[in-house]
Symmetry: C2
Subunit: 224 residues, 2 copies
Amino acid sequence: MDPVKVIEIKKSVFADNDRDADELRSELKRRGVFLLNLMSSPGSGKTTTLIRTINLLKDKIRVAVMEADIDSDVDAVKIQAATGIPSIQLHTGGMCHLDAEMTRQGLDNVDLGGADLVILENVGNLVCPAEFDTGAVCNAMILSVPEGDDKPLKYPLMFSICDVVVINKMDVQPYFDFDLEKCREYIRMRNPKARVIPISAKTGEGVEQFAAWLLEAVNNWKQH
Amino acid sequence: MDPVKVIEIKKSVFADNDRDADELRSELKRRGVFLLNLMSSPGSGKTTTLIRTINLLKDKIRVAVMEADIDSDVDAVKIQAATGIPSIQLHTGGMCHLDAEMTRQGLDNVDLGGADLVILENVGNLVCPAEFDTGAVCNAMILSVPEGDDKPLKYPLMFSICDVVVINKMDVQPYFDFDLEKCREYIRMRNPKARVIPISAKTGEGVEQFAAWLLEAVNNWKQH
């Protein structure tokens, strides 16, 4: 497999991100490519979750990954090595989020003709990525147990825009004061429709639920 | 004790944040108030670390706390209840960081006449807060074990501007793949001068080192 491609993303010059995001979404719809925008804090386990999820999906649909980070290419290299699927690294040049135009710059470097699902792993940040529509069909986030069950109170926008909240690192719950029911309640306060899926990316527990949810989302979207 | 004051911070209109930060720093120097800017990811344990640290320091110097969050006042309430020291909550109205003018708006609501040390708990975010000088004398950050030892590779600016990196949640190290020596090495790559202090805010292990470091920093600064 080729070495991971690293793309230096340029700051967006478009004034109207919402319009640009809608255009990108329409274009992806025409091409039959489902774009998932995956967000979280730094270190919540996005990459490990993706590896498990992709390995469950890759024989059913064609998946590609774009890893966004301020610096380094560790995530794209890890994904490609562990799943064998094409993965590119986007460098944001210090930017704390991706918008639709920046996402498009990434997509220009992915072979979209072959992909059913492109997963964008956004910059690790619970604040700014929530404010910018990337053009994705679906927003997902990961909250990990060590971060605490009160995060929906402190980062309301992020929780309100996500269709699914994956709660990762459930295997270490005994060592932390994390109340899953309280967390579900806080998430419901922000977003009554959000699906909550507890997992452990380390042990694999629950990942098949997330993979099944995602596969169903992709298939439903393709049919409508 | 009075209920916690919640301040709605307004977006800064100053064009030159660096100049404004320098002015604030000079003013605080004249008044003998040491401002510490504490940063981290969401859920790394800033508040718990502060409670332990303040309880070790509060008989030696006068401390006040400003808690910045996008929403909620859980942290300021927690700090005040657990330490008995004055604590105010700053609401950033969605903003992902504080700059010098926003910090000043917070300080206007703290009784500075009585304080040797004001601690600003910045918004939980490893990206944006690193880009804006708050006017603090000293920048500190907390990285927690569950976030992973590779964070200095991914968030270079944050690690390069901090005088001290506290590594929290050492009590759960056995359950995570976190290599402390590798992490120290990555931090050194970004910032050879940064002091690294491993702690567990939960058990209290190592917190006295951080408190001693902070007390010495305040005393040295007051004498020079």
